[in-house]
């Protein structure tokens, strides 16, 4: 068959289709993804858009800590610009969160696929271990893990992976159990594809819908976790700013200087709300 369409026109149409494919359809998902993209842009541009270096102390500001023309969101007790620290803090969060989420999702997907596809003893072993990890209240698991292995980027990623891989695994397992009954899985098996091919190129792509929504929700939870660990003093070591520890440093000041803890707290809320709205919208899309 001949292609009679104008190539330019079809390229534009293909672009539009691509855009439409990736740009979410529901209002809440669009709102969520805009918030997330905003913070990603902030994190990337932090060195250029933040008015001061994050740890620079402005001694002149100490007589007037509150929001002013020179320090839009005010400074903390050490005279450090809150706006700059929030902008730089976005970096910390948006570096840890994608790594941790990707690691948790990778591990969760692998164990979920394995236990759903193979069944039997593998399934029972994985499910049993998952149940045990899931029986710990998550935050307590984090506290026990981080206080015993120490706070660092790698350890936080390990802790988040360990705590969330089992529940991701459960979801993937359920999806796999359903998908493996489809004809295309049997076809792949019949034509002698390897197990890995069947799992990752036949089953996994067909589970992407529910998994994308879950991914967004997990990323939101990881933001909360990173913030909470920072707040509890179990986050990345100072002095680099992160939102959770900014709140912790200034929470006792709230009766006098509420903005010091409030602004980083609100920044955190907006990012988490972005991820939840996206997850909610993606779920509705299906």
């Amino acid at each position: 068959m001949m292609h009679t369409r104008d190539p330019h026109k079809s390229a534009a149409a293909a672009n539009r289709r691509l855009w439409r494919h990736f740009w979410p359809k529901t209002v809440s998902a669009r709102f969520g993804i805009s918030l997330i993209l905003f913070w990603i842009a902030v994190a990337m541009l932090a060195p250029w858009i933040s008015p001061y270096p994050p740890n620079a102390q402005d001694m002149d500001a100490l007589s007037n800590l509150g929001p002013s023309a020179t320090h839009w969101l005010g400074t903390d007790l050490l005279g450090r610009d809150i706006l700059s620290r929030i902008l730089w803090g976005a970096r910390t969060t948006l570096i840890v969160v994608p790594i941790a989420t990707a690691s948790a999702f990778g591990a969760g997907t692998a164990i979920g696929l394995a236990s759903g596809y193979f069944g039997g003893i593998i399934d029972r072993a994985i499910s049993g271990l998952s149940d045990i990890i899931l029986s710990f209240p998550t935050l307590i698991l984090y506290i026990v893990l981080i206080t015993s292995i120490g706070p660092s980027l790698v350890n936080i990623v390990i802790a988040i992976t360990l705590a969330s891989a089992p529940s991701i695994g459960r979801i993937v397992r359920g999806l796999t159990l359903e998908l493996r009954t489809h004809g295309y899985v049997a076809a792949a098996e019949m034509r002698g594809e390897s197990v890995l091919f069947t799992l990752f190129l036949e089953i996994l792509p067909n589970a992407r819908g529910p998994l994308l929504a879950d991914l967004s929700m997990r990323a939101g939870l990881a933001v909360v976790t990173v913030g909470t660990l920072g707040f509890l003093g179990l986050g990345l070591p100072p002095p680099d700013p992160d939102w959770g520890s900014m709140v912790a440093e200034n929470v006792t000041m709230i009766p006098v200087y509420p903005y010091m803890a409030l602004f980083p707290g609100l920044a955190m809320c907006s990012l988490v709300i972005g991820f939840s709205m996206l997850a909610d919208g993606l779920e509705e899309d299906q």
Binding site: S28, D131, I132, S135, F136, P137, T138, L139, I140, I143, V144, L145, I146, T147, S148, I149, G150, G220, V224, G227, T228, F231, L232, G233, G244, V247, A248, V251, I254, P255, V256, P258, A261, L262, G265, L266, M268, C269, V272, I273, F275, S276, M277, D280
Partner: protein, 337 residues
Amino acid sequence: MLAFALRRLTQLLVTAIISSFLLFVVTEFSPGTVSRQILGPYALPNQVALLDQKLGLSQSLPQRYVNWLSVLVGLKANPLGDPSLKLDLSDSRGDRYFGNFGYSLMFKQPVRDVLAGPLENSALLGAVAMAFIVPLSLLIGILAGANAGTQLDRLLSTGCLIVTSIPEYAAGVILLTIFVSYLNWLPGTSPLLATEQWSIASQLVLPAAVLTLATVGYVARIVRASMADTMTKPYVRTALLKGLTKRRIVTRHVIRNGMIPPMTVLLLQINWLVGGVVVCESIFAYPGVGRLLLQAGLFGDLALVQTITLLSLAIAAVTQLLADISYVALNPRVRLT
């Protein structure tokens, strides 16, 4: 029913043993030897060696786990209480009793004595929070679910989503800013000591509010989903065609059937509340178990960390069991095999 409960109980026991072993491994894995951690950085090498020997630290991990369990159930005396170690640790209950959780090295007291007060305080906080969470989430969920798809539903659901997304500590900061900094209606910390200005009840308001905010949205969304699902059932249409009012259909038919899944979620939420309590207590300097766990973890007080984590595991296990049993008891359609 009995057979089902028994089988779940056995499962529970197995889980308890494995998870306590994992807990033991993770906590004892801590950097530095266990004796160093107990005696502090300035201990003499011969003290460390003596304690290593007394505690049986040269033994294998499973063997040490069995020793630890034996102390816990009262079969063995806690080696730390030995006066020859000069650690100045003694227990008024004697050295061998059931439920011996060892000594807290941070407080130089038996863990049981350290935990008693904070445990009561946390239970109080949890109970007050639950007293708000249950009616509020049911009300919001039923309102939204019975009117699924309407403007009201959209408003309530989005509100719940946003409230759920707010991390506890951020919620704490927002509430503190409003009610303490601007309005000056409530105290900023809750040490549970009545002062002239603030009664104990007023000190409970904000911590309970933080826990409620963090939980209510999630539970309400589950209630809503279940209610909305039940509303589409054929018997609802039949009732409508029969001429029943919507109010009557919702209160008589939908709520009864739609409440089964949320009941179990509510019970499981207690488990989640345990974690939330840690953050909440840290914000308000509330003298409960959560804050104690954090302090113990940062200090390296192994016995205290282990005991509090075991307690939270026990709570998790019991609520899970209750949730399973209540699901079966509430729903006659679930068959027991």
